[in-house]
Structure formats: structure tokens, C-alpha cells
Symmetry: D2
Subunit: 371 residues, 4 copies
Amino acid sequence: MTKIGVGVIGTGFMGKTHALAWRNVKAVMGCAAAPELAVLCDTPLDRAEAFAGQLGFARATDDWRTLVADPAVQVVSITTPNRLHHEMALAALAAGKHVWCEKPMALTLAQAEEMEAAARKAGVVTLVGYNYLRNPAYAHAQRLLAEGAIGRVAQFRGWVDEDYQADPELPWTWRATLAEAGLGALGDLGCHLVSLATGLMGPVESLIADTQVIHQTRPLPEGGRAAVENEDAASALLRFAGGAQGSMVISRSAWGRKSRLGFEVHGTEGMIVYDQERMNELQLYQNRGPLAEQGFKTILTGPAHPPYGAFCPAPGHQLGFNDLKVIECAALVEALSGGAKAHPDFTDALVFERAIHAMAESARTGQRVTL
Amino acid sequence: MTKIGVGVIGTGFMGKTHALAWRNVKAVMGCAAAPELAVLCDTPLDRAEAFAGQLGFARATDDWRTLVADPAVQVVSITTPNRLHHEMALAALAAGKHVWCEKPMALTLAQAEEMEAAARKAGVVTLVGYNYLRNPAYAHAQRLLAEGAIGRVAQFRGWVDEDYQADPELPWTWRATLAEAGLGALGDLGCHLVSLATGLMGPVESLIADTQVIHQTRPLPEGGRAAVENEDAASALLRFAGGAQGSMVISRSAWGRKSRLGFEVHGTEGMIVYDQERMNELQLYQNRGPLAEQGFKTILTGPAHPPYGAFCPAPGHQLGFNDLKVIECAALVEALSGGAKAHPDFTDALVFERAIHAMAESARTGQRVTL
Amino acid sequence: MTKIGVGVIGTGFMGKTHALAWRNVKAVMGCAAAPELAVLCDTPLDRAEAFAGQLGFARATDDWRTLVADPAVQVVSITTPNRLHHEMALAALAAGKHVWCEKPMALTLAQAEEMEAAARKAGVVTLVGYNYLRNPAYAHAQRLLAEGAIGRVAQFRGWVDEDYQADPELPWTWRATLAEAGLGALGDLGCHLVSLATGLMGPVESLIADTQVIHQTRPLPEGGRAAVENEDAASALLRFAGGAQGSMVISRSAWGRKSRLGFEVHGTEGMIVYDQERMNELQLYQNRGPLAEQGFKTILTGPAHPPYGAFCPAPGHQLGFNDLKVIECAALVEALSGGAKAHPDFTDALVFERAIHAMAESARTGQRVTL
Amino acid sequence: MTKIGVGVIGTGFMGKTHALAWRNVKAVMGCAAAPELAVLCDTPLDRAEAFAGQLGFARATDDWRTLVADPAVQVVSITTPNRLHHEMALAALAAGKHVWCEKPMALTLAQAEEMEAAARKAGVVTLVGYNYLRNPAYAHAQRLLAEGAIGRVAQFRGWVDEDYQADPELPWTWRATLAEAGLGALGDLGCHLVSLATGLMGPVESLIADTQVIHQTRPLPEGGRAAVENEDAASALLRFAGGAQGSMVISRSAWGRKSRLGFEVHGTEGMIVYDQERMNELQLYQNRGPLAEQGFKTILTGPAHPPYGAFCPAPGHQLGFNDLKVIECAALVEALSGGAKAHPDFTDALVFERAIHAMAESARTGQRVTL
């Protein structure tokens, strides 16, 4: 496929990010194929039209089914609230469209499984938006592990914290409900951490977890307060299939943390540390050289950490969040052009999402859950 | 008691630290009472004598029972390997001596309980060496919580990592045995973290934990390898009696970490972060003032954080590890002088040690343990 | 002007950055006007054509005079090596085109003055590429100063270091010559620092400086070594017209520094610290509140720091280097659309460049230079 | 000399630090000789007596001439305000006493020169209190340079900032006068930085400097305001005899800085960075190994950095400010016992003090001063 007609559903945080990525992927990364911004969907229509004009889409609609059916659209970006992913993805797959869907795939594991089965049946290209996997610093951490730079991997420590639900007096919204939002911090944040962990450590074998509703109620606009149904925070102890152990801590109510997604990997010869709030840095300790000169190195990413160089030939000049989505989009374009499979497709991503649902289950039952 | 005759058993890491603390506590802190360095015990005798000469003890012995029985000794510092604490402490208590014992109290919980009962019966002053509790930065964190500086406390995240057992080829020693060392990382490191957590969050109500032997065997000097019996690493999910939740990660095999003992306390109005590797700093985030100016503050300790000023009138000039032991000793001298009870005495410390044994038990059984 | 025809000369580091900025400025920032990528120029022609195809320019040329003359081009981006800026800018101005020129404007101050005079005469819009001025963190620092957040400003400390000329065995190139490169570190890096200082402190009144050639010769490809004619490093003491003092240190041979451009501003009530290597952070200390809680705040930029929000609605998610150029381009589009003057235009930038030439002069003469 | 009778004049910040160092030097460092705390002097007498009792001095006096004359005193610690150093040191030297004097040696260079000549004539041991030279992290930096770890040394960047004079409304004191305090920030802080620079780079050959009175007046207790006569801040450009260049920035009015004394050394193969506010860390970058793994290493000091191990056998456990003075005292005891000369003695220190007076002179004249 050298012509890629793009439809994007949604114009919020992720909608704009997808649209910019589609718009720039060839310019930045030099892909052979050139995406064409065909249709943009949002409601109300004038919002969709304004955004289409700004982003350069050929046309706008307020009906996502029209977008999915449009013959100019070969691939659909689904960036709507999580509760809509399932229906939209199934419809797009049924129409034979390729799908780039934001995470988490769906509110329930059953929905995600249905989507994965549909994707396999459709035989199209899918990709789920685990953008942090695209950071050149993360990719370099993976290379270091593969090269044995820190020996045998023994432990993983992961954290992901933001503070968008930290304020006790934020009004109650649908985000607090199981029916419309499903999981809380686990769905918003935890699955990102699982994606990073899996890419470094391989699959999780079993886990024990606990969850916490920090703010039991939130104020209603009309007065009074309503219950928060899903978790503000979660934590888990993990065993990986490869023999390592790990832990994860997750919160959407962690004051001061804005995008704190990171990990330590403990190896028998060293350690790697990463934090998304300083996304252009990677920390590396190796038990090498004189003891008096050992220490954690702060590595600033640069052209030595592909594909940083596609953005900037000068090291340490810094990539940003939206750049990660461009790299993600390039993997999708590669797959759409007949190249390597995009990772994580619906099958890969289902593994991540099983883990967060397992955490929720373990927290409910108090028992270890085997994946 | 204005005259305090001191006997110190052991001249290793902790032995020297105790001796220096006894030597300096009045000079630095201005205590009314003046400790007298009466007897130092170690084996062989010439080591004890050399050390007594260097540190200024009146006499040396290689027989700790002689020290305990010496009428010039009112308080005994026990700084020997953990397996010896139990017998020495019981003997000292039986002789009516006050006891300053290093942590952990003993190899087994049963031993620790026996020590605690003996201490209560003896009615003497006891103190267990949880020196990190003495950091003015930590004390300030406690004050901030008490003042509500970060609102209601919701989560605790703790870590304690060193790398003294990270090298796979370190020779096997008695430290790897349950019989002579008891717990591994939990006993060496984990109990410190529990002491910090308890002082901030109150008592742990229940926990689930996992442990890990990262290096299953170690080389023997005579060739071949022997099994490591106790844990290199541990992790736990906690529920505090006050309603908060928490997690702990603990490792003695964490490359690059030298004294990484720290925590995050998540509150409903802010967060506090601390790390012993930068022990003169405290991080504080508060949801106050304009959003555009919110951020974590790095507070350098100084005279505004007592008793820093006893060491130095200039802020940010830095205290060191040995200074913490002087502060600890001052609390003991205060208690010996009829002032406030020293914290943590054997009764307080038993609570910390219950928690690490509960972690070991939970790891064995796979079940939540209620404390 | 609602239609902006763009010509870009050069396809290197800055060429790609300009092209991406033109391509994205409306999509990201929602400008009313829509730039059209008309002509791209580089040599050889096939390079220009390939790049034009990738970036989406309507056509390519290997003759920059053709580009300048093209009626579809209203604004010319000059991103070629510094020695070419002067001729190209004069030609573009003579043709009545608006000009976006990379810094430094020219090799000599005389050339820059000629360009500035030509720009004033032409009455067109000009902009010089001082992209670090666009960082929302920097803009916030300016706002804080304007609001008096740190009181009266007393001192400026600035540094700018990279290591692209740190290796003694890097081959000799034209960059080492006065004739083809002009100034060394002052031209590449120092002028950026001057731009930041001026925006915070107002104009420099006088300065004393020193320069240093760290690597006196460099190896020639054909064997032997040739002299390095321009400075690897420079330092200066400054007096600002407003009464404050300052210092600057500048090096292109500072191992490990990749994009370390930063400053401290010392005020009578606080301090602000910034470093481009952590470009999404700003440090702020204010003498406010209890002494025990004072410290430097690490502020992560977010939507509270415009125009961060145009890129991402979530704070702390990080902008990147290329995003700065989009913000810069938006200021240019605004000016081209009849809005506020773009800053720094040729007249503003000439002030910055006078300062670096004054540093070179002071280093030569050993005397204070008044600006 | 195996018996060292000690007299300490002064009981303020430095007085206590000296007393503690004398008290602990043998206990910590294992020196052969044992200092005896003979006489303590301060006024009024009851303050001296209280302090002597606390610190363990045999007797107290309020007359420093009595202390100097006391036959039990072989070495005199001078820790009084700077204006008193000259007279006291001359008297002690005249009495044939060894002298440990706090920095700066005197208010004027002429006084310091007189003291140095007297010391040479007396043939006794002298030491000036440049305690930051004693940090194991600093000593390691010196070793790294000597081993060529960063190649040829090309640049020095130094800074020393505190905020004890940052508040505009601090009352006027004698510290603001030339007659009683002499230099301002240069004398309090700048000479420390010079000592560090000299130990790394060798002697300064010439310099240009500027100084600044940030707060021109300060309030008088009785109402009204009085002029500040000495500098709040200074900055300098340096040329070292070895060919390297350097810069220094110095302020006593730098809000938020508590003990920020540090440097960068730029070499042709790497860089070393140090800051006293994190005095247990040293940063090292070396152009070695794969580019993708290069970065600044944060080295935590430990027993591999002598004499850290005398304080603590565990790395990363942190030394404090007072520990530096113990190390300094050990060098003095070594010299008093017939071992290596203590550095910096009055002759060495005079070199440092020449540099700060040269800075003041250059600031006055506007000319480069050759040392």
C-alpha cells in the first residue's frame, strides 16, 4: 500500500496527537508511503470541521460510521473515550479497515478479547497506542538488556503516577464509574507500565495486587456527592515467566506527578533506570571499571539512539511527547506498507490488558492470579 | 542519672559508630549527663585494646560477660553480628543494665519477643538502633504530616536498596544462612524501612509479600558453591491501620545503590519524598498557590530542622551518617537521665520486626498476614 | 496575508526544522493563515527533490536565486551555513520577500548591520532563529520577573556548552576558519545565551571577555594538521544597563554537554534557574513561607505555561526541540498576518550579535567594551 | 610530638567545629598522637566555661593571651572573627605555638603577608582552615586529574553561593564594613573557591574581575540605614599558569543557595563536576566506550575514596560537614607528629588570599591583575 487514506475519530488529547502524527510521519521519518488525511470525525459537526481545517483533513463528519464506511479511508484512528473503542473497532474491522486504537482497548477484558478475535479474523493491520514504547531511551534500554549490559535480569520496579485526580474537590464525572470508564488508574496508566515491563522482562506469569479508592466520593455539580467506583491507585507484586520478580505502583492521585512513568531493571551486573518526566535521559549503572569510578550514568538520548536522528541530528536537544506518536505511526505505516508487523497489535495489547484486569481481580479476591 | 558508664560490645561498622556517638553526644548536643567510656569488648583482645585506646575507653576485654558484669557499666551497646544480640541483651538486662542494641533485635521473632519481655520486666531503658529515624529531614517530614501539610495521608511507597550482595561471585558466608543470619535483606534493610513507614503512617495492619533469592548459590573459598538460604530481595503490599495503603521494595543486590532508603508519602493535598542517598534534602509538593508555580521543592536541611543546629549553624552544610547516631544517642541519654522514653525501645522495635517476619511468612505461604 | 508561500533554503539540521515548523504551525497552533510549502532549495538537485517530496514542498531547485525570485514565495527561510546568510538575505530583502534567517545573522558585524539596514529599508517582516526564546519555561521565567516574583533582579549567570568540538582528533573543517565560519563558539552558541539574557535582563551595557582555542590544531584528511582560527570557548563579565551584573561561559568543547544552555537569575527575593537539557523544567526559589519549607521548586511545564497547551493538554508530558521552532514560526505567521511584530527581528537580533562581537573584541584588546 | 596540647579561641560556628575535630581526630582517624583539650577561650567567661565543660576542655579563659601563653598549649586554633586573626596569630607564633587559623587569614593582604613571614620565621606548623579541600570527593577529583582521566585540563568553572546576606532587610552589622570585615563575599566564600581551583588547576597567573554591592544599604537597629561597604558578589575570568582558563562567580546574596560551592573541570577527554551541596557525589564524564552509553556518572563516595572509610565502611552512607574538619585536623596532627607538611599552611594559603585581593583590585581598577 503506497496510498494510505486516514480517518481519525476524536479531536481531544489523543485525536490531535494522532492527526499530527499522520500529518508528519513521512516528513519526519521519510516513510515511502504518504498518509492522506481523508476524514475527521467529532461532534458537534462544527468542531469536527474546524479541526479538519486546522489539521488539514479533506473532510469532516459528526458520524463515525460514515467515516468507517468511507472508501477513502483505509485506516481508522480511534481516539474517543474508552467506552467507545469496542463498538468502533469492531465496525472498522468489519469494514476491512486497518485500526489504530488508543489504549486501553476496551472497558472489559471480554470486549478486548472480542476485538482481538475480530482483528485476527479480519486479517488487517492493527496497532494499540502504547506510545511510551517508542521512546528512543526505552528502545535503548531494550537493546542494553538484549546485549547483556546488566547481566541476567532479576527484578523490575515500575511506577506510573499522575495527579489529574488528586484534588479531592474535583467534580464527579463519568470517569469515576465502572460502567462508563471501567478501570480507573489501571486503565488510564497501569497498562502503559505493563507495556514497558513486558517489553523488558517478557510476559507476567502471575501477580498479587491491591487497589485503593483514595477519594471515596466527589462533588456533584448540582450539589451533594457521588461515589467513586473505580480505583485511584493500585499496586502489584509480579512474577515473570522468565524467573524475575517485580512490583508496580500506580496512581492517578499522586500530587506533583505529571507524567511519572518509569522503571528500574535490576540485573546481576548492573541497573537501568528510566523516568518519562525526564524522557530524554536513561540511567545506567554497570559493575565495570575501578570501584572508585562506578556510578549511575545519565545518558542523554541522541542520534546514537534511533530513531532520534530523524528528528534532530544533535544529541541532547530533546524529543517531546508528540514525537513519540510520530515514531509509533511510522511503525504502523511500515506494517501498512507490507513491512514488519506493527507492535503491539491487538493480540499483543490484549496481553497487557489481561494484566491490568488480573490486578483488579486479585485486588477483589485477595488471591494470586496466574495469567 | 548524671553519670553514665558505657560498655560497647563490638568494634565493626556499628561498634565504631556507637563509640563515636557516646564520645560526642554531650559535646555536640549539650546533654546534661556525660557518658564515660568504661569498657570496650571485642576479640581478640589486642583488637579490643587497640580500639579502646583509639576511642578512649578506660579498659578493654575480650569477654563480653565481663563487660556486662562490670559495675562501671550502666549501659551496654550491643553491636555484634545479629545472632549474638539475643544472648547478650538477655544477659545485660538480667544484670540490670540499660541496653542500646543494633537492629534487627534478633534472628527470630521468638527471640525478639523474649528480649522485649525481658526488657519490660527489667524496667530499664532500652533503645534499638534505627538511626535513620534521627535524620532532621525525616523528623521534618513527620512534623509536616502532623501539621497537615499534605492533607490526609493516603499512600506510602518505600524502598531500601544496597548492592553489598549484588555481585554473583561474592564468596558464600554465614550471612547466607538462616541459622546464623536469619532473614536476609529484610533483616539488614527492610526493618529500617518499616521503622520509617511506621513513624509516618502508624502501624501496619496487614500485608502480602514476596521474596526472592537472586543468587541461588555463591562460591566457597575451598571450591564449589553453596546455597544461599535467605532472601536477596523482598517486596510487599501493605495496609495501614489508619486506612492508607503502601508498598515496599527491598534489595541487597541492587547494583549502584549504596544507601538508597527512601519513601514517598502521598497525601490529599501534596506529597513528601525522601532518599537517604541525599539525606540532607527533603522534597515537598503542595497543592498551593498558582498552578504555574507548583512543583516539588527541594528543601535543604538546616537549623530550621532540629537538631541540625547542634552540628552546624549554617543550613545546607550537610550532616553525615555518623551524626545520625549522635542524635540517636542523645535520645538515649535523655531517657537515661530521666527524661522522655527513648524511641524505639524494645517494645516499639518489636513492632517493626514483626512486620519483616510477617513479610517472610507471607512470602512462604502466599497469604495476607494480619499483624 | 492569509496565504503564505514559503521557500526554504537548506535541508540540514535547521532546514528540516524550518520545514517541519512551516508544515505544522497551523495544525498545532491554529493560526488563521496557512503556510504553503512552495519551493525547497538545496544542492545537488536530487537531494532537494528528495527532501521536497518528503516534506511536501510543491517544487525543488538547486538555485537559491530562483527560489528567491519565485512569485509563489512570500517568505524565505535561510538555513544554510552562516557564511551564506548575508548574500541570501540581502537578495531576498531586495526582492521584497520576508525573511526567516538562522542565527547568527552573518560572519561579521558589518554584514549583520548591512542586513539590518536592508531589512528596515525593505519594510518586510524578518525573524532570526533564536528558538530557545520560545520555550514555555523561558517565557514563564520572563513572566515571573515581570511580576516581581523574585524581587529586583541583581545578577545573571549564563552558560552554554556542547561537545561537538570537544574531541581533539576531529578533522579540521571550514568551521575552524575565520573566513568561512567567523566566530566559533560565540557564533554557534554564545549568541543564543545573549538572546536569553537580554530577554530577562534587558540590554548589556558593557562587558569584558576572554576567549580560548582549546585545540590549537586539528588533523587534515590528507595528513598533517591545520590551525584552528576561532574560539572553542569564551567567557565574559557583563554589566547590564539596568544596573545588574552578569557572567557568561561558553564552550563548544565541553565533554558531555549536549545542549546545556541555561541561566540563573538572582533576585532580591528569590532565584530562577533554567537548563535546556531539561527544557521542560524551571527552578524557582522564593523567600516566602516558613524557612523550614523553603527550597527550589522544580516546575514541570504544562498548559499553565502557554503555548504548551497547543501541543498537549497534559502537563509534564514534555515538549521537544522541534516544538520550539513551531512556536517560533507561529510568531512569524502572526507578524505576516498583520499581527504583532515578530521578535527578534533583524533589528533586535543585531543587538544580540553586537554582544558576541564585543566579546571577541574585548578578548583581543583586553579592554572593557561598551555597547 | 606525641602529646598535643590544644587551645581553641572562639566558640562560634568554627570554634565548635575545631573543638569537635580535636576531640575526634584520633578516635576517627587513628592518629598516633592524642590531642589534649587544654584551654578554651571566649567571652564572657561563663560562655567559655560552659562550652569548655560541654566540649571537654581542661579549663576556660576569657583572655586569649592567657591561652596563648599557657605552657599546656602547643597548638592554637584561631576561630574568632576575621579581624582578630592577625593579632592572635602573630602572638601565638611569637610564643612558638603552632597555629590552626580559620580563613581568610586576615582582613588585608598586608596582614596576611606579615602572618606568613612570621610563620616562616617561627618554623612552626601552621594550617589554614580550607576544609572543603578535605572532601574525599574533591581528593578523588584531584586523583582523576593526575591520572589523566579527562585528558589535558582546559577550563575551570567555579561557583560559590550562599544566601546569608540575600535578604535586603537584614540589619546592618560590622560584616558590611571594610574596616572590620574587609572583603565581603570574596573573603567569606571566594577564597574557598580559589583553594579548590588551585588544587585542581595549579596557580592562577592573572585575572580580571568585577564586584557588586547588591544591597547598597541595610537598616540600622536604631532606625535609618547605613551603607554596605564590601561586595555582596564577585565574578572573575582567570588564566592559569598551566595554560588553562577559568571563571568564578561568587555571591553571599544568592537566594536558595546554602552551601553551593562547586566546579566543573573541562578536559580534552572528559569532564568532572562537583557541588558541595551534594558533597558525597562526584560527576564524571569520559569520552570512552560506545557513544550510545556515554553520560555523566554520579559517583557516590565510599571507602574507595580515602579517608571516607575511617568514618564508615559502607559506601554512599554520607559524610557531613564536620567530618571534613576531622580530616583537616588529621593532616595537622600528622604534621605536628613530624609527618608530612600540612597543606595549606600560611605560605600556601597566602597564595589563595592573594587571588581574592587581586579580584578586588581588578574590580577597582578595571584592569587585568597578574599574580
